[in-house]
Structure formats: structure tokens, C-alpha cells
Symmetry: C2
Subunit: 167 residues, 2 copies
Amino acid sequence: MEYLEAKEKFISTWGSLGTLWGINKAMAQIQALLFISTKPLSMEDIMGDLKISRGNTSMNLRQLMDWGIVTKVLVSGERKEFFTTEKDVQELARIVAKERSRREIKPVIKVLEEVSSIEDNGSAETKELIKQTKALKELTDDLDILMNKLVDQKQNWLTKSVFKLIK
Amino acid sequence: MEYLEAKEKFISTWGSLGTLWGINKAMAQIQALLFISTKPLSMEDIMGDLKISRGNTSMNLRQLMDWGIVTKVLVSGERKEFFTTEKDVQELARIVAKERSRREIKPVIKVLEEVSSIEDNGSAETKELIKQTKALKELTDDLDILMNKLVDQKQNWLTKSVFKLIK
DNA sequence: ACAAACTTTCAATAACTATTGAAAGTTTAA
DNA sequence: TTAAACTTTCAATAGTTATTGAAAGTTTGT
């Protein structure tokens, strides 16, 4: 496989994986492109390479910056703006985990809490609703805490400590 | 909050959370409804309760059965089919983790493997592509293995062992 | 073998989400 | 202060995915 083919394969796969970590295709592709680039890229570079419009590029770069995954860099002697992404996969995972927890998991936990604490009027239906949402709340809580903790251990958390425990 | 309001809140929240675990709204809502129901429900019951069409109900029930989350049950004296979902959250998490790994993560790992093992022709671009996709491949691999292992420890895995390690 | 009771399929369409591109906005250099 | 170089915004539109509903298919009881 040639460089160009491999690059395209990577970008398109990463793009369609976007949904898995909750972002859209263009956003994931821009991130992928920056991730394997040896130097910061301008908006022109990105538009040209991914064949997407200026507007689309602008909006998705902004979102990536909101996530904290992409940052603007100044290239001296250049007027236009250039962009890079976090290059360290561990750090990338931390950011994504934190953001998804904040944006998606936390709000769900809040609803589960509310629902599971309605008053028990004695009916079987109410009892079941309380029981099941409580169980779901506890699981979601545990997973969220685990995710955040794992991802806080800055270096080598996975291989270092967790694996030996559960092998 | 009354039972009905709580029930609706739970179903709609769980439904919109569907994307988080990679299924569509109707599918997640059907599962939610079954999850808090005290008895198996028929297609009529589900259509009526969620106000969705017969076709939609049929297709999404089928998908839930493909995932292994919902099963048909026979209710004696009844001609129509009834459905229940796995009621244990731990077991539910196991099934979902296994399926997502198989359907989404494994294929991505395969592509990352292919891309990261292209021949190094010495150029900086190629070196970067190899380096970064390799790092991504290793992280994804680790997370996938971790997810599957955690979820294999049938009972209490979370609270029991992992938490004390990383607290 | 028939028909009633039920489920599945799938083409049409509705609903939603992403993308474009041109106009408006901003920054910079002279 | 002007205008060129650049970025952002957003209404229009394209593209994608979900939903409907009616026809076709299946099963069961008589």
C-alpha cells in the first residue's frame, strides 16, 4: 500500500468512526488529517486536501477547538491561521473522555437520579421503574467514574496497573 | 413527579442516549419501555405506548433481537408474540460492549493495522503516518481488551476490584 | 383448505443533519 | 483609512437516515 492510499484509508475510516466518539464525519476527518500531518495546516490546506467547503472547514475547526482537540498556531511570516491537533493519543483520549462525560453522561445520570427518586406509591409499575432506573443510574455512575479515573492517570495507566489486575 | 411523567422522561432520555451506544432512537425507546415493564409486551402494546408504526416496531424489535438484548416469549393462551428485554444491567452492559467491539472497534483496529504497516520509504510524511496510526492502534487495542475483560468478570467487577486499585 | 390473526417487507416520504457558497465581518499592512 | 487577505455566518440545499402504511407473507385453529 502506498502512502497516499494509506492516508486516505486512515482519514476515511477515522471519519466514519466519528460517530463512535460522538462527532461528525468532517470533524473527525479534519482531526485525522492534522493528526498525521508533519506540520500545522491552514484552512486552504484542509479544504483542498479533504475537498470540503470553506464554511464547513471553518465550522468544524471551531468545534474541534471547542472540544480542546485542535489549537491555532501562529506561523511567523504568514498572515493566515494554522491549526494543529493534540498529537499524543493518551492525552487525546483524556480530552475526549472528559468531554463526553460532561456533555452526555452527566446529564443522563441527572435524569436517572430524578426518575429513580419519585415517590413509591406501592404499585408494581412504580416499584419496577424505581428499581430499574436506580440500577441503571448506579452502573452509569460507576462507568463514568471509572472512565474519568482511568483517564486521569496521566501515563501508561492501562498497561501499567489495570491489566495485571484483571488478566 | 408522577409515574407517567417519570416513565416518559426515562424513555425519551434513554432514547436520545441511543446514539451514545450506537443504536437509533426507536430501538432505544423500545428497549427502555421493556426495561421498566413488569410483564412482556406485545407489538400492539409497544406501538400504542410509544406511538410508532407497526413497521417501525417490527424492524426495531428485530434489531434488538439481533443484538441479543430482547427475546420473544410465549404467553400461554395468547396467539400474538410477546417481548422482554434483559433485565439485569450488568448483563446488558456485557452484551452491548461485546457487540460494539465486534461491530465497530475490531474493524477499525484492522484498518489501523494495515495502515500502520505500510513500508517506510524514509519520507517524513510516511514516518509520521506510521507512528501515529501505530499509537492509535495500540490505544484502541488496549481499550478494546480492557472493555471486554471488565465486562467478562460477571459479577460486581467494577466496585469489587477496579475501584480499590485506582482510588 | 380456508380465513382470521398476526408479522414482515419495502417503496414512498418525512424528518433530520451536513454541506455549500456567497455575503458580512474582521484583521493587518501600508 | 483603505483595501486586500483572510475568517465567520447562515439561508438554501443536498444527502442521509428514520418512519410510515399498505401489500405480501406466515401461522394457527377449525
